[in-house]
Point group: D2
Chain length 382, copies 4
Amino acid sequence: MTQTIGVGMVGYAFMGRVHSQAWRNVSAFFDLPVTPVMAALAGRSKDKTAAAAARLGWKAAETDWRELVARDDVQIVDICTPGDSHAEIAIAALEAGKHVLCEKPLANTVAEAEAMAEAAAKAAAASGAKSMVAFNYRRVPAIALARRLVADGRLGVIRHVRAQYLQDWIVDPDFPLVWRLQKDKAGSGALGDIGAHIIDTAQFVTGQRLVGVSGLTETFVKERPLAESSEGLGGSRTAEKGPVTVDDAALFIGRMSEGALASFEATRFATGRKNALRIEVNGSLGSLAFDFEAMNELWVDQGEGFTRILVTEPDHPYVGAWWPPGHGLGYEHTFTHEIRDFLEAVATGADPSPSFADGLQVQKVLAAVERSASEESRWTEI
Amino acid sequence: MTQTIGVGMVGYAFMGRVHSQAWRNVSAFFDLPVTPVMAALAGRSKDKTAAAAARLGWKAAETDWRELVARDDVQIVDICTPGDSHAEIAIAALEAGKHVLCEKPLANTVAEAEAMAEAAAKAAAASGAKSMVAFNYRRVPAIALARRLVADGRLGVIRHVRAQYLQDWIVDPDFPLVWRLQKDKAGSGALGDIGAHIIDTAQFVTGQRLVGVSGLTETFVKERPLAESSEGLGGSRTAEKGPVTVDDAALFIGRMSEGALASFEATRFATGRKNALRIEVNGSLGSLAFDFEAMNELWVDQGEGFTRILVTEPDHPYVGAWWPPGHGLGYEHTFTHEIRDFLEAVATGADPSPSFADGLQVQKVLAAVERSASEESRWTEI
Amino acid sequence: MTQTIGVGMVGYAFMGRVHSQAWRNVSAFFDLPVTPVMAALAGRSKDKTAAAAARLGWKAAETDWRELVARDDVQIVDICTPGDSHAEIAIAALEAGKHVLCEKPLANTVAEAEAMAEAAAKAAAASGAKSMVAFNYRRVPAIALARRLVADGRLGVIRHVRAQYLQDWIVDPDFPLVWRLQKDKAGSGALGDIGAHIIDTAQFVTGQRLVGVSGLTETFVKERPLAESSEGLGGSRTAEKGPVTVDDAALFIGRMSEGALASFEATRFATGRKNALRIEVNGSLGSLAFDFEAMNELWVDQGEGFTRILVTEPDHPYVGAWWPPGHGLGYEHTFTHEIRDFLEAVATGADPSPSFADGLQVQKVLAAVERSASEESRWTEI
Amino acid sequence: MTQTIGVGMVGYAFMGRVHSQAWRNVSAFFDLPVTPVMAALAGRSKDKTAAAAARLGWKAAETDWRELVARDDVQIVDICTPGDSHAEIAIAALEAGKHVLCEKPLANTVAEAEAMAEAAAKAAAASGAKSMVAFNYRRVPAIALARRLVADGRLGVIRHVRAQYLQDWIVDPDFPLVWRLQKDKAGSGALGDIGAHIIDTAQFVTGQRLVGVSGLTETFVKERPLAESSEGLGGSRTAEKGPVTVDDAALFIGRMSEGALASFEATRFATGRKNALRIEVNGSLGSLAFDFEAMNELWVDQGEGFTRILVTEPDHPYVGAWWPPGHGLGYEHTFTHEIRDFLEAVATGADPSPSFADGLQVQKVLAAVERSASEESRWTEI
């Protein structure tokens, strides 16, 4: 008999849907010391939350996240809301002794992230509560394999990292002013939303931290029609316009802790690129390259040319739990892997990774890029 | 309130696992007139079946498929066993007035397939029972989009189809003699297992049927170590050897009903190709190309060069139910789509496709290839 | 001081232009024991031939190829005419003791090819004259490297060859009836023109000969406007129409001398494919794949996935003579390599390859495909 | 009768070899108002220069470039020496009324480049002498096509340019200290050698100039074995070591004159990348992408996905002069195109492009990157 553990989730939009898929299926594929029970879902609207809970497989619905945090049948709180509420919910949950999985970026400001990291450390000491920030791309099997190759020294001394996260969903100037384009909700634009992912990915794969950056940001479209609903990734717009208060694109170059040079670009204006999280790493013995638009492939050079490794073999990270070779995985599987690792840590008492402290460090890089960009790209240490 | 419908599944190996994933999740993504309830799972071993049922989400377990067919809470029977038992189970289920979803190839012989198609027709008339053969690759969004482009005339008159299904899982002569390498269980080798998929895919995409073929088959490794268990895709082997009684590879060329030339190749000896179901179609106005190893991409030429369409847009087939653009799907989603379409047909009274008659036609092509191959590749009409 | 050798070329259309480029430049890149002197060019029209000679770098012009063959300053005769004149010119040149390089296919019929091979053998014995058929694709560095890998055993036992030569230049039914579409001039259509190349390439790379085939051919467009000039690859057309007397496409499957299965397709109706000479070889230890549309790349699998080898390293075949790594070569270089090898053989007394006997063998394969296609695809031995 | 024009070239190493190939063949492919005559080659060593002249097709050899400039049969001076001698030779040639084609980067310093641009302007006014800097990559057909698409507005407002020039030829720390690694000879390292190419390419394709940059440079390997000969791209090394005085890699971000954001990276430490000159441009209506390692391809997005255009059609820039579709060109052809355009300008009195003034502007960008890199990446205007 496996033990069960109750999960409560806050938010049921894009991130909530994909987290639900992971909670619902993780036990069918991975042998875990605990089985998650999808206890309750919290959202603001009673009807919508109840409908979402029914559809996504949550047993109960709450309209106040505080109620969800307080439930006896909830031991894990999974935060899938916009960044402006992360700190408040996470800190409350940690103080209540709950384990916390929080979507990225950890917070909208360094101050909030610091408070969260502090709360996480305190809760870990007090109640053994675990906390983790949801940089799901670490759990793409190809990215995890990339990390393994670098850690094993297969690339030698790392010289270069170049990472891009290219999307195009707001190229149209009539795309509405959704919450992700508002600084008070989202903290920043492309920088925090997708730039955060490539910062984490680059640091994870290389095992090096960014130590200084020089950056540029730009808002190409300064005003947009107001959205009828601020919640979605698009949808209807009104005749009225409002100011875009976040960056459309952010570029920066930097140095990493063991001497690698790094180049980053995050943009929502790369027409034709849909979700191109790309990273290339060059070392003294070899190189690797990845593009999420072909997420089951890792390209590795060891001197003869780049080999396209189809990362679907049983000995590749996470893959053994799924299908035979050549039967690829999709976007949602990265969350299943993340939740598998989180549950494993919760059950065994290990520290899940990336921690809130890791999330804070990424937040500091984001802040450094913004500061550099606002001060004529001057070099800014982290 | 949605109506529910009870499902019983026979078999819980590779196909059973992936069908379970589809049954478990289809309602969370698609708005369906009925909600499937995973009523019961049948398998031979009591313990293993019970464990599989618990893990995969089935409410009950049966050790006799006849019991499963007879259950009042089962309206749909989903057959995930090797081909030698398809006919018996399917015919029994149809006679009991159950809807039937059957894995491919429909049967191991034309005679069995004919009996099944007849039973399906009779049951449809008698009880309105629906039946469908599980050529899941039709439900790859890129393949469904390919069909749409051809049907819309975007490629003009079709001149060429070239289709390959390349795998390499038995290149090693010490790979054991699993059931898929035994004629009595599997009917044929690469031909029926993966050749059937490209026959169906080519006919589906072009809307043309194969009318004649000239073929070659070969068994490169004539003897293999016996497997400890005949069930899996690999696993332990014994010291004893036995004869491989199916083809390792099958090649054939043919003509299609509206004049296209066709070339097919199915092999388990294409080292480095893991699950390369590939199809290219050339028409008088354009062409398309697909490889399942990059399943979220369809390549389309309309005169300027091949365009890589990332088939992840909301208006692409099935995709709107899932994630934003660029967030790809995986192998298992093809089954979710298949089950979505089957449930839709069951609920609305439409005829699901591909029907057992379609499965029979593919069986006739397989038989024609085998006959041609055994008679010096002579032209064989279908 | 290097010795010089005089060259005379017959024909100055597409093949003549590219051969001229090779003769003009070979000595600037390769260290050769002889330096070719571009002595004379023969063509039917006096003015056009003189203009072509001036432009392409030939010292003299002749309007009768017999005069060219007879010239004292011509030791090598290079035949770049349509296939119907190959036999006559080549045999005359060989009888005159000249070395002969002849464009492919060697001839329009097996009988002609036999006569040529016989003349070549006789001349070799009598005068030491060398002869070679111009299958230039053997001299693509990537193809030569592929051959080396197979010969070195890197792929193990060869199981599969699949080769395609896909073009689309006559998809338009109003494309005129140029000489390549007339059986009396060209011998056959796609089969002899481009099918011959993939037959030679497949045999060269694997080191195996085709021993039997089953084929299909088709002429999709039966009538076309007459061309104003029969010479070119396109050009103006008249209002009158004439019958297309060659195949538009040819498909065949076959067996090779050491047990590999082979699949071939040659077509001029593959919309969007411009010059896609493709070959894939699967062996028990590895695989390789090539597409001439990316001619500087060879894809090689040795168990981990396909490696894209950029065939531009100094130790790759022919490459050391050219540019630094990554600075790719083009189509014409294959002819420069061919002529380098021919000159080397002429100067050292070695036998150039592919010989006229090799050309004859390819001719026999072409004839076998045609025979099989005309007799309901029945198996035809070579 | 075409007029002829005499050419004298200085230097016969890598660049001299490829320029020779272009001079030798340009008239066989392009209809030009003048025919170049390869009059004389200058080099320091008498024997080596004479041998090179014989091999490469130059009628005479000189050991003093001043003699070459002074020759009556030389109207065009082509400078293929390292950057430290460009200014002196070019200015002397221009003052002698000769047309000048000069390899890139134009000079080793802004001051030299300014003197050269001034001399070019003065000579143009005085004698009608033409001058051009040899940014050959502009003449890759795919790059020229990219420029045409942007100029035609097909991409809309340009938002992003990301350009990389990745090589790996000095990853080995024992690679010798050739002239390209010495500041006094080469001016700078990766920055001036290959960074200059992507600056020119990015500005050419977008039609925008860089207006400000923030940069980073690094020398990963600070000391290397002395080379036996400083001339080549590699070769033997001695036991002694010397300091590397140029950058191994340079990264910078910047803004362009019409608002695009730009990201650049030039490195000789990108293991596995041989000559990856890459550029991607994103506009409000579409995007394009190019990689010189696949130089015959241009990828263009116009909303549906990236189309691989095989840039081998007769209506693509420069291509009509060469081979049928799908028969690709190589590295050297970019020089043939460059010389074609230069000869056309010389003959018709048009101003060739890129001019020395364009070369000076690139030099200023290089200087700005170096200055920024030396002052903590601060923003530096151009």
